[in-house]
Symmetry: D5
Subunit: 152 residues, 10 copies
């Protein structure tokens, strides 16, 4: 498949990038470039580090976007998200920052990201950002992620 | 029932078509052609092949449409979807492509399709497409498909 | 209670009508005729016959309506729905047809019906119809019926 | 607390009123009278009598309102709802009637009530009424009550 | 497939039997006759008639059995269960009776049946019967059917 | 049906008995008297009065029994349970007492009862009683009633 | 009711005891003293203090016991549990300690307690203790408390 | 991290403030000050005192806000919420009051708060307040908190 | 890692085997050979063909085993299960047959398999087999797979 | 609290240990040393590395143990589990290995561990180990972790 020939990570053994800055987000051409549709990725395996304590943080991420010319290649997306493993970052900044990086790389018509962070001190934080109100005519279902319920 | 007399698949032993191109989508007249209503099909038994690795992919599909003159005959729809069994296709393309084929065959007033794909590399992809904003006055409930939750 | 004195089915032993045509839908005066409110019936015990194979079909129905002068008497509604037991009908036609019969009998301000049919050939069909966009100011919650999930 | 000094039921042994007509709905001043907010009560322990058979009926009620000058005192609300124990009433009338009584007593900016009645003859009835479209700017979440599912 | 050649219903258009007495339960040879294993059928589409009122009854059935020489052919099982459509029978008798008929026809090592009946008069009845304590060494999971919860 | 001819409540308009002492529990012959099986009733519509405050109490009851010669006639069971409507009784005593009354009337091989009471003062009480360890060879599934979870 | 005449807390305004040591656990005679049955209390509103940090801890408690001569009076139980509000205690010690105090006061035939504590540092702790293996013939359902699931 | 150097509570042993008035809500600069995004905190461990009886009350709180220049520092938020432990307050007042205090301290673009209170007298109260209709273009998912269901 | 050096599929591009007979199940040494523990695989992506109609069948499989000297290498297990894609097989035979093949290849101390098949003709079939009663001392949790619920 | 005075990690800023070998598992005296009770830890935030690909793996762990003289100090347990962040380990080996390390450090009367690993190649693995059959008389509830369900 010619359009995938240039990809450096898909189909190759690729180590986890040492940091987000070093991660390579790759794209492929959108096969339906004139069509308004949504692609959603769920990453329940996200982890980064707390800038204050150095302890690990965990999150369940949901990324929704409407592609323009490019689709994100999903292996490169996974590696980019995995590259936060040794990165120190606050929840609000980390979640919004991932969204902005994706916007820069994909130039999507629209994008949003949710970070559902595991509780610290008894309270979880959820962060929700979108680039703008969703395009008219887009089908955009709820993410359906369960709310935190503590115990019982 | 005269209007079903021409159907080639319903009521006949019919093998799975060898490919989507060979599948015959049949229709019957809409018994309520002037009425704005929705028909929803859920296909939790969808499978195709990965174009890169040849490994099988799985998805739970939901198809919603507002018929104009024609209803899709459901056995022919099932056979069409089953015809992807040996077809190589990326998730985004496959989901949107099925929607477009149905639009071509059914000329519905409106149609949308969701593909909830099983995870690869830890991340599932969901794809959502609709032909336009839903017609005014249509009753269009949420699909209610659970979000992916990983483990725990 | 004088207003119920004319009812032929409520408070009487009443056999299941032999067909929908023979079923008697009875009404009582709406006690709040100038008030915009919704009544919802759930009938998880609906069954009819497949016109092609003669095999039984099953559905979970939800009927929502905004009464004008009349309320449907619920025993007569049950008997009407039970009268489909020996009736052959396709899913789309049956669901919309019940809705239209109720509209004729009740002259409601607004009505909608959902038929959640059990799967055949691995796929269930849901049918959703409403008479128009809901009246402004009506409280109209989601039906909350679970989506079909196959297995697992 | 001076503003509670006049209450006749809160802090006193109070029998269940013999009928809704005899029930005393008491109020306290709204501590945030200029603020648009919602108070929701759930009463899963509601029971009344069937006017035709005299058998008991049961319902799960949800009452949402936007207070103006007065808040309903919750013990008096409980006693008012309990006063239906020996009252004969049809589901539609009972649910809407409770809503109207509350409107009369509380003069709220807005109110709605849902009655989720237990099934009779295999079918449950839900009744939903609101005084008007909700005030702009109000946060009004779904009631989240599960739909009836029969068995299985 | 020679062993299926004698089957009169599988692969043939077969009407619903007029009564359980007329239903033909067919079997095929157990492909693992020396092996202790369980087969479970769920039939959420069961209906019969009330002997007292003639009104339809509904149930969700679960049948578990350990085959000896014979497996029940599943289309014939479906037709047998469908044959109760016009049969009058009390819940306890009907459920246990189906179990006993299957025992007679299949001579299984062990069998059990559960009938989860829809509520009448506000109360559902569940009926559970097994031929004996389960064979030692059998893997026999819970049926996992949700309990009845009324409303709310 | 001769064996039902003597029943005084089934098929007759029957008021709610004024008290449990006045309720008539009727039985019919067990159609499978030599068979070890279980019948389960769920009554989510139980209510009685608090002996201390006179306020209503509510419970969801589950009754499991193994019949010997007699089956309880379910309308009479419903009326018996409804007769607690004006009866004052503590949770532990009420639940066990109903079980003992049924044992006296039905002479079952075995019986158990669960009362899942609504919370008072923030804590619900559940009461569980059985006449003895279950008979060997009985199939006795869990009641599957959800635990109380408070909020969140 | 004479047997309740001596109770000092039920039916009286009673402040929260200042500490568990000061709390008065009161009992009433078991109305079924020769009967083997279970009473279960769920307390989802338990809070105490962390001995190391002084920060509040929260738990959902479940207490199951088989009474001998005495039943715990439930208001006194609530007050006893509320008395931990200003008490410093580790999770394991606190949970088992409450169980032992109840054993001392109630002399039950058998008792068990579960403490489902809210997470600290990302991990919740559950503590389970019982006085002995449950008495033979006791009906003792699972507590049914949901496991902790983090996020997603 | 210089911007955190002034914080008095984060990274220090800090006792629970004696009252909300004494609690110090601290903030840090919003790292994405020109971006419209939402931060959500869930606090399932909230407790205060009933002004009438002195008994403890419990709630599950959800706080959503759109930051302007400042983010609330989450440890200080936790301590502020914990400071209600010995504070007497009615449900409606307490919930709205916390929201207003946060508005004063954070000057957010928008804020809302939900208090899901545990039942008293059988009825829970939920309170919902927001500063205004949500800003256009904000992604604001439902809180997803389960409704109260009583028992069964 | 030397012990993985001989593996022919892990770490190599490997096509789906053309049939189960051609599939290579590979093993690695059990790192805890003297320890009684359980490994569980869930395969919700299983598909084969119906021997009578040639139509695809789908199942959710659960495989539990106690290793002796060998662990199954999971990529080879996946490829083996994928090799059924073009294999015709009845549900009972297929499920038990997979279990027996694994027993032959792994020589485990104990093994069990569950096949949760998607419904055909309205009824799903579940098949459960184990090699023997589980070894004493093994921790063997329930599979926790939801039962089939049809609709509603 | 003297008995905690020697702890090196609780109450101190402590970095994540560089490897499990370097992690210090600390203990405190069991306050109920002669009592048979269970402590359960849930760690939904576990991550390690795949020895073959170097990619991160994720798991939800459940650890149950019956203490003898020592309780594990929970902060040290968290740090020990966090120390796997840069450790390469297969699922079966990692899960059982953690259990064995805890046995060595705590000398418990009994211990078990479950690892619910996130899916790779479409299949999740669960690993279950216990030191022996549970002690008689121990209360040991199910872990209640949901099974993996793929999509739909
Ligand atoms: Ca949600
Ligand atoms: Ca959660
Ligand atoms: Ca929880
Ligand atoms: Ca999960
Ligand atoms: Ca999770
Ligand atoms: Ca379903
Ligand atoms: Ca299912
Ligand atoms: Ca159902
Ligand atoms: Ca319900
Ligand atoms: Ca309820
Ligand atoms: Ca609840
Ligand atoms: Ca809770
Ligand atoms: Ca209930
Ligand atoms: Ca159902
Ligand atoms: Ca699934
Ligand atoms: Ca599925």
């Amino acid at each position: 498949m010619a359009k995938y020939a240039k990809l450096r990570q898909l189909g190759h053994e690729t180590p986890v990038p040492a940091s987000p800055a070093e991660a390579l987000l790759e794209t492929v051409p959108n096969p339906h470039p004139g069509t308004l549709y949504l692609a959603r990725f769920m990453q329940p395996e996200f982890t980064s580090l707390c800038p204050v304590t150095g302890q690990p943080d965990f999150a369940h991420l949901v990324i929704d976007y409407v592609p323009r010319a490019k689709l994100v290649e999903s292996k490169s997306l996974k590696l980019y998200l995995n590259s936060f493993r040794n990165e120190a970052s606050f929840h609000e900044d980390c979640t919004v920052g991932i969204g902005k990086r994706l916007v820069k790389e994909l130039s999507p018509r629209w994008l949003r990201i949710a970070g559902y962070w595991y509780p610290r001190g008894g309270m979880p934080i959820d962060v929700f950002w979108q680039t703008a109100a969703p395009p008219k005519g887009l089908w955009l279902p709820d993410t359906g992620v369960a709310s935190y319920r503590g115990r019982g």
